[in-house]
């Protein structure tokens, strides 16, 4: 019998403390009537779960949750309540009995199942013993990327990720169809400068924006070595542009990065991803089999220095394949996040204008 590490370690305690925090925040979200408070609490909820995810060793997921939940979701929600002009929920629940019964049913079933689930951290549980462990053993040999999450995401389950990119693309299309094709969608009213109270902000934003963009590129190209990847990088890139819009105004941003261009880039990203798949197929492999990304004849021509580490030289198809599809993900995600922001933020101007016209 192998001694398991003691069950009551720092990891477990911090994890439970964070979960209790999550429960408190979720309870407060259920209770509060102020939508704004709910949004702020939701942002905190995302943050707490991001820390919890780090404690649970899910660094990549934590990264995503932090940039998505606390960043993009909050801004989109803010845009939505600006446009719906309701900051306070109407008092009174609709009907309490039926919802409570539904929730009790789901919760009861969940807790019934929870009692049968393996203990937290059991290394021999079916979930950890079968496919998950196989990835840990196979990925370094077959893919060569140190970050196994990236290897699984981009290579073994690359088709899931293609679907995920398509989902994001679809969301961008949906938001553009709903909000972004209005009569005044892109040209915004000229900005008149009245007393400027935000010199500090403007200056520091000028510092920050290139820094954030640079970091996005680091996350992008560092993705197979450490936490990160195309998705996170895309959101961060979009955050840099959103910061520009927030500080210098949407009009200037839209002039620099036009909405039409952004919508096209989103499509191009998916196209790049699927194109890599088709290229592998044309070279004789299966769809998304990066080992066939380059034709064998071409592969022989590659100079040795490009392959770098001779031990991993035979993975270079995988390496470049992952790099390319991550680039596709980056393009689609960044462009879609911007499309969504443009949709919500651009609509605000229109809404106020309409109100004044009426």
């Amino acid at each position: 019998m192998i001694a398991l590490p003691s069950s009551l370690n720092a990891n477990l305690v911090i994890g439970i403390a964070l979960l209790v925090m999550l429960l408190v925040v979720a309870g407060a979200i259920v209770r509060t009537r102020s939508l704004l408070a709910a949004i702020i609490l939701f942002s905190i909820y995302s943050l707490v779960s991001a820390v919890w995810l780090v404690v649970m060793d899910a660094a990549d997921v934590a990264f995503t949750e932090a940039v998505i939940g606390a960043g993009v979701s909050t801004i989109v929600l803010l845009g939505a309540i600006l446009l719906t002009r309701g900051e306070v929920e109407k008092p009174g629940w609709r009907a309490l009995v039926a919802p409570a019964l539904v929730c009790a049913g789901v919760g009861g079933l969940l807790i019934y199942a929870a009692a049968g689930l393996p203990a937290l951290g059991d290394p021999a549980s079916p979930a950890n013993a079968h496919v998950g462990r196989a990835y840990l053993e196979a990925a370094p040999k077959e893919i060569g990327a140190p970050n196994i999450v990236t290897a699984v995401l981009a290579s073994y389950r690359g088709f899931d990720t293609l679907g995920e990119t398509a989902v994001i693309f679809a969301a961008g299309i949906g938001v553009a169809l709903m909000l972004g094709f209005g009569p005044h969608a892109s040209p915004l009213p000229p900005a008149a400068t009245i007393g400027d109270h935000h010199v500090v902000l403007r200056v520091s934003a000028k510092f920050l924006i290139p820094l954030i963009a640079l970091f996005a590129l680091y996350v992008q190209f560092h993705g197979d070595l450490g936490a990160g990847g195309g998705f996170q990088a895309g959101v961060i890139m979009a955050a840099a542009i959103i910061l520009h819009a927030l500080v210098f105004g949407l009009r200037d941003t839209m002039m620099a990065v036009p909405p039409r261009l952004v919508r096209s880039i989103a499509a191009l990203g998916v196209l790049l991803y699927a194109g890599v798949g088709v290229a592998c197929m044309l070279n004789g492999g299966a769809f998304l089999d990066y080992d066939y990304l380059f034709p064998p004849a071409f592969e022989k021509q590659v100079p040795g220095w490009l392959l770098g580490d001779p031990e991993h030289a035979h993975h270079w198809g995988q390496h470049f394949g992952i790099l390319l599809i991550e680039l596709g993900v980056l393009l689609t995600v960044a462009a879609t996040m911007l499309t969504i922001f443009y949709g919500f933020a651009g609509r605000t101007v229109e809404a106020i204008r309409q109100e004044r016209g009426a």
Partner: protein
């Protein structure tokens, strides 16, 4: 006691899911419902991640065998434990749930954006984001269409 501690995650996830679902089905405000839906979806992720945790494991980013980091990760553990459950001397957590949940988070934010966009259009068309008021207006519209004939 240790059973409770080691199953606490699942119970907490169950309560979070219930909280999210409760907001979705009971609230009348469309925006609040989307927030509830987001909580419901996020909590699914917590379930998966809990399943993939391995005791004393570390994130599934391989550590160089020669690096000091590796020594630090392994030296306080039972060597037999590391030998059985580790890969190349380090115990890693299961990467598969992480991959799945990355996808699920993306799906979640996509749904959130589309749902909020529809909610905004609902406000523009009906002048309200309260489901009951919209329902009354819709009913009225259907009834009017019927009585004109």
């Amino acid at each position: 006691m240790s059973f409770i501690l080691l199953h606490f995650n699942y119970v907490a996830v169950a309560i979070l899911m219930m909280a999210g679902l409760f907001v979705v089905v009971s609230s009348s405000n469309l925006i609040k419902r989307m927030i509830g839906l987001a909580i419901f979806q996020t909590s699914t992720g917590l379930l998966y991640i809990s399943l993939g945790k391995v005791s004393s494991g570390t994130a599934a980013i391989t550590v160089d065998a020669a690096s000091p980091e590796k020594q630090a990760l392994a030296n306080h553990l039972d060597p037999a434990y590391v030998a059985q459950y580790g890969v190349a001397g380090v115990v890693y957590s299961n990467p598969l749930p992480h991959v799945l949940i990355l996808t699920a988070i993306v799906v979640g934010v996509a749904t959130l954006a589309v749902g909020l966009a529809i909610a905004v259009r609902v406000r523009e068309a009906f002048g309200s984001v309260e489901a009951d008021e919209i329902e009354v207006l819709s009913r009225l519209e259907s009834a009017q269409a019927g009585s004109q004939a």
